[in-house]
């Protein structure tokens, strides 16, 4: 005998976040109670893009669009939040990430055409660790891999509309074309192309991992003061990351790239208290690392592939070295890659 008035319904939909978009009109309040539904809406449909164009838009937006907001990462039992601010001035892209839980950390990143540097701030030991990312990246200027390559590996389709952080987004599904990688569901803000939510899913559509904005402002002018860290770093020690490029082939190691993946890094480094070589492969969305530790005394993990949340890991001995493969890919892919590593002796 009771009725729910329209006014009551409207107060629900506005939620806590009122993003200030200058590029799109906020699609407000009109929808009735809905979870993610496949309902095409006229506003989003006006952003008609081919799958290729969608991927390109996402890649561009990550580097080119100003945004600031809170991102929550969830996987397994873990949930971590960070605040992110990103500013692009036409030449240089700057980013600041602050952890909101766990140990306090800030990551300050600067990217230009020639350079890509990350400063990691560790307040409890008053250290700054600087890492230079490879400019010789196989995908310079791009995020991940060329969009066309990504489409060869994943079938990309536009789905319905989903609300993320109070903003109506286009859902894009990435269905893997082989068993070497997982699928993804992305929610993209149509006007800017900014990715607001990403879910990694297996073939049963279990969500293995999710990253999503819970609040975000897109496209506004952002005061550069907001890129400054929370702490004064005067007197802090500055260190360079110890990663050194190596030539594994010269050392006799054969580490073939899995189908569709490209090598993005090949370094020697310290890992905890040990020395190791690490090769990183990426297909644009997924990443796998191969660690080689010659003479390591550790026993391999013989129980098969280990899963830690979204990440699979597998170890085996090759000669006197321990080879460990770790990545956000299906367990069989990790095992297969480990199996393909060979040592032929130094040249």
């Amino acid at each position: 005998m009771r009725t729910v008035g329209p006014a009551a319904r409207a107060t629900v939909a506005l939620g806590r976040w009122l993003p200030l978009l200058i590029m799109t009109a906020v699609v407000a309040a009109a929808s009735s109670a809905a979870r993610a539904q496949d309902r095409p809406r006229p506003e989003a449909a006006s952003q008609v893009r081919t799958p290729l164009q969608w991927v390109q838009a996402i890649q561009q937006a990550a580097a080119r669009v100003n945004y600031s907001g809170t991102v929550v990462y969830q996987a397994g039992g873990d949930m971590r939040s960070s605040r992110i601010t990103h500013v692009y001035d036409g030449k240089r892209s700057q980013e600041r990430i602050q952890t909101l839980d766990g140990k306090p950390r800030e990551y300050l990143r600067t990217r230009t055409d020639n350079n890509d540097e990350v400063h990691c701030l560790i307040p409890e030991s008053r250290r700054i660790v600087i890492e230079h990312r490879a400019v010789e990246d196989p995908f310079p200027g791009l995020i991940g891999a060329p969009a066309a390559d990504i489409l060869k590996l994943y079938q990309v389709e536009a789905g319905g509309i989903e609300r993320v952080a109070g903003i109506e987004c286009q859902v894009l599904t990435f269905t893997p074309r082989d068993a070497l990688r997982y699928g993804y569901q992305l929610c993209v803000e149509p006007a800017s192309g900014l990715l607001l939510k990403s879910q990694m899913v297996n073939d049963r559509f279990d969500v293995l991992e999710q990253v999503a904005f819970t609040d975000v402002r897109i496209g506004e002018r952002i005061d550069r003061a907001r890129l400054k860290p929370a702490w004064s770093t005067e007197g802090w020690s500055v260190e360079r990351s110890d990663h050194r490029r190596v030539d594994l082939a010269k050392a006799g190691w054969v580490v073939p790239a899995p189908d569709g993946f490209r090598r993005t890094k090949e370094i020697a480094r310290r890992m905890g208290a040990r020395d190791a070589m690490q090769v990183v492969f990426s297909d644009g969305l997924a990443t796998v690392s191969v660690f080689i530790e010659p003479g390591a005394e550790l026993k391999p993990l013989t129980e098969g592939v280990q899963m830690m949340g979204p990440t699979a890991a597998y170890s085996r001995r090759v000669g006197d070295a321990l080879v460990t493969v770790v990545g956000e890919v299906p367990p069989a892919a990790v095992r297969g890659l480990a199996g393909s590593v060979e040592f032929n002796g130094p040249r």
């Binding site: 009771r2 729910v4 009551a8 319904r9 629900v12 939620g15 806590r16 976040w17 009735s32 109670a33 979870r35 996402i58 890649q59 937006a61 990550a62 990462y73 969830q74 397994g76 039992g77 873990d78 949930m79 971590r80 960070s82 990430i97 952890t99 766990g102 140990k103 950390r105 990551y107 990691c120 560790i122 660790v129 600087i130 991940g144 609300r163 109070g166 990715l195 939510k197 279990d206 969500v207 293995l208 990253v211 360079r240 990351s241 993005t264 480094r269 890992m271 040990r274 990183v280 990426s282 990443t287 690392s289 098969g304 280990q306 899963m307 830690m308 949340g309 890991a313 956000e328 367990p331």
Partner: protein, 197 residues
């Protein structure tokens, strides 16, 4: 009367749900039915029915206050909330069944992989707290191991998990991730200390 008899034939689940609501369904059945409830809207409708009837029998005033759209409305508001996750203390085993792990936002799907929750007490070492607290062991054949076997594996794999963390941190530091904040690796492991020279 006939109608009621028909209902139970057409919807055998509903009678089980009626037991569940009274707390009279076995642990495994309850677990499975609760999972199904979260996904099946017809079953959900029956859940509502059962509770309205109970309310009505005890208080017509309470039952009369039923608002049909209210649940959907709260559900919509809930969808906008960040998913809460409570830190787990030591997991409680209920009559030998294993807890299924629920991925965020998705009801659990039956899985061939066994997920063993590793309780810190198993290690008997107060300093051995791995940030990655649950480790799943996927065996090549898909039979479910016995609880005792799972315990044994879990204890073994926790020790390994400690060394796995090092690899994980090193991997995540360099992982490209998806194009959503390129710094996704940092999001994956805040608080990891990168090594410097």
């Amino acid at each position: 009367m006939d109608k009621s008899a028909m209902s139970s034939n057409l919807h055998p689940e509903w009678e089980r749900l009626s037991s569940l609501v009274d707390g009279e369904l076995d642990a495994e059945g309850t677990d499975a039915l609760l999972t199904a409830l979260c996904r099946d809207s017809e079953l959900h409708g029956e859940w509502v029915t059962l509770h309205i009837v109970g309310d009505a029998l005890r208080s017509s005033e309470v039952a009369a206050l039923h608002a049909p759209d209210f649940c959907a409305r709260v559900s919509a508001a809930l969808a906008l909330e960040p998913t809460v996750l409570a830190p787990r203390a030591s997991p409680v085993r209920r009559s030998g069944t294993l807890r299924r792990y629920l991925a965020p936002g998705v009801a659990v799907a039956a899985s061939a992989a066994v997920i063993a929750f590793v309780a810190v007490p198993l290690l008997q070492s107060p300093t051995a707290v791995a940030p990655t607290q649950q480790v799943a062991v996927t065996a090549a054949p898909t039979s479910d191991p016995t609880p005792a076997e799972v315990s044994r594996r879990a204890a073994a794999t926790v020790a390994k998990a400690r060394s796995l963390d090092v690899y994980l941190a090193a991997h995540r530091e360099l992982a490209a991730g998806v194009a959503l904040p390129r710094a996704t690796p940092y999001l994956r492991t805040p608080g990891e200390v990168p090594e410097g020279r």
